[in-house]
């Protein structure tokens, strides 16, 4: 890919005894939308604040456009941070909100006017330019907050959960607008969210964080299709991946999972792996959309209930006392609670994790 705009190197940040960020490193490329994703308290916001210069790291360096900015104050970094609650001045017009950052920079009035109008047009704000920012819609407020950042032409736009306070319904549209705007303007963005779907929908690349550590970095599809451990596997994807706990057995050249059910995981495995795999305690995962109802299916259970998930129906299948799994079926499919269903899993889409470490052992079919 293109030029590196941001390099974060071995950042450590502690608050008292709590290690908020624990040796985190990554690079963000020009025109990229890079997302820091993780549950509350994983260190994503602290990482963003370190990049913005609002927190000083205990260790590590931050480079923007190749320049070490670790010791520079926020205003000298040429980055702009948009917060969870859009900091628009409600009593000021959209125009004055956008012009605000420029006025502080001692630019001629004419230049300010030109730049404000240019950015307003890009973000489709011309119609509300003279309205008070407190009176416009949430989406317009978001764009105003963005416009105020973009007008100063920062090298990097940092966004801290900008959509989390918006209603579910509007959020989807705003995600689309944000992504389109980021692409059209060619802005480099670092985005923070706890919402995995938001991360998948918006990002060029995602960094999944947990307890201050960076767990996996990759394109949305890589993270979704190839999670490197149980945490990423269960955190990404909705509904959550199904998990079956059991013991691996090698029978001839077949790899078998002994659990509440017995399923063949793969064939033709390398003989050199036999001793390593046989008897290993594992957790086998598969996504609800990678299984389907089939009379030949080896995993049998009773349908406990069904639920509607927008475009599909989910059936909850009780396989054993401890284990229940979810499978997607067609939205209009006729399945009833209490029916016995057997399901088959796409063998190419099984994930095998070491029970002890949680790390990926094998990806079936690979």
């Amino acid at each position: 890919m293109s030029r590196v705009v941001l390099r974060v190197e071995n950042i450590v940040k502690t608050f008292g005894k709590t290690i908020a960020v624990n040796d985190v490193s990554f690079e963000v490329y020009e025109r990229e939308l890079f997302t820091l994703l993780g549950p509350s308290g994983c260190g994503k916001t602290t990482t963003l604040r370190v990049i913005a210069g609002l927190e000083r790291p205990d260790r590590g360096r931050v480079y923007i456009d190749g320049v070490d900015v670790t010791d520079l104050p926020p205003k000298d970094r040429n980055v702009c941070l948009v917060f969870q609650e859009y900091a628009v001045f409600p009593h000021m017009s959209v125009y004055d909100n956008i012009a605000f950052g420029l006025k502080a920079k001692r630019i001629s009035k004419l230049d300010i006017d030109n730049r404000v109008r240019e950015v307003a047009e890009l973000l489709d704000l011309q119609k509300v330019l003279w309205q008070k920012a407190g009176k416009i819609s949430l989406s317009e407020q978001q764009r105003t907050a963005m416009a105020r950042c973009i007008v100063i032409e920062p090298k990097l736009l940092l966004l801290d959960e900008p959509l989390s306070l918006v209603d579910a319904k509007i959020r989807e549209r705003m995600r689309r607008e944000l992504r389109k705007m980021q692409r059209d303007l060619g802005v480099t963005m670092v985005f923070v969210t706890h919402d995995q779907l938001e991360a998948l929908m918006l990002s060029d690349r995602i960094a999944v964080m947990r307890e201050g550590k960076l767990i996996q970095v990759g394109r949305p599809q890589e993270i979704y299709d190839n999670p490197i451990n149980l945490f990423v596997a269960s955190f990404i994807g909705s509904p959550t991946m199904n998990f079956l706990e059991g013991v691996l057995r090698v029978v001839k050249d077949k790899l078998i999972l002994e659990s509440d059910v017995i399923i063949e995981l793969m064939r033709g495995i390398d003989t050199s792996l036999y001793s390593q795999l046989d008897g290993k305690k594992v957790i086998v995962g598969f996504r609800p959309e990678d299984a389907f109802i089939s009379p030949e299916g080896l995993i049998k259970g009773v349908i406990q209930y069904t639920e509607i998930a927008g475009d599909k129906k989910i059936i909850h299948l009780r396989v054993s006392d401890k284990c229940s799994i979810r499978v997607f079926v067609d939205l209009y499919a006729l399945v009833e609670v209490g029916d016995v269903a057997s399901i088959q899993v796409n063998p190419l889409r099984l994930h095998i994790f070491d029970k002890e470490t949680g790390n990926k052992l094998l990806r079936a079919g690979v």
Binding site: D167, A168, K169, F235, S238, I308, D311, K312
Partner: protein, 360 residues
Amino acid sequence: MTFLVVEHMCKKYGDKIVLHDINFEVNKGEILAVAGPPGAGKTTLLKIIAGLLTPTTGRVLLEGRDITNTPPYERNFSMVFEVPPIYPDRTGYENIAFPLRLKKLPREEITRRVHEIADLLGIRHILDRKPHTYSGGEYQRVALARALVTSPQVLLLDEPLKALDAKIREEMVTWLKNLQRRLGVTVIHATHDPLEAMSIGDNVMILLHGVQKQLSKPSELLNKPLDIEIDEYISIPALNVFKVRVEEVLEESAVISLGNLKIKIPTRISKSYEGKEIYASIRPIDISIFKSEQPGSFKGKVVMSQYMGRNQLVTVNVNDISLRAIADKTFRIERDDSIYLQLKPERIRLYDLNTGKIIT
């Protein structure tokens, strides 16, 4: 006899009407989900049922008995709020035991019931801990435990999951539904999220700006929204809506034109619509994407593709019309690709241009 009935309920604050003529019934052991955007009147409705507010007109009946003027403490209903007030300086045990102490139950009975409910909700481990050590999910479970420990006749939940992270919220929906089935408690669950409502409710009421728009089973709601406002509200990802012209009304079908595209829809509509404009809607999931031309397909250009894990949301321009469709996760797609869209005619719903009501 129906367990809980709400009849002709209205609530006004001065001239402002917050609830217009609400009518519904809930059977014992059922979950009624009330879905509506913020400001729709969900909290007011729940508070009236709880007895915390009096309705301007209308009645609340419990097993046939009028309880409209019964004070809250005599109703034996419990209510859980978005951010439930839990005493920060008391342990989980003390918080859960609180309503039982108010009832002056014997100490052994209180201990037994607190432990019973804590086991059921999987929060035994936090009984000795104070609220600041809880995770979001645990906090919400303690609030639920406190609401359930009195074995209420009706449990009223006001956006109990809204403050939680998306991932935890999703797990809590499944968990809550399982719990409700085991306890058999009657629940009214208010939420702004139509998908949460449809996945948790046996029945769903759509409440928009104080008006009860529709009350039906989730599948029926999805298949037959009564008007376009409901259809737009419940469809996530966002519904495709167009103004179309009815070209021809036939025996069992109608031909509509959308720009220069003509589509035959297997819906029987009145002849009076011929030549008139109406609204047509279709969900992204009901549009299929192909790389090559298909019978009845339209050629379009990809504007954007948003990866969603199990599938992707694709925005496509067909002539001047922008459509959103769902493609499988394995479908390779790039911006500016030429593709073909096939709309499932039986999934296109038609609405009157003036009233917004569904045309069937």
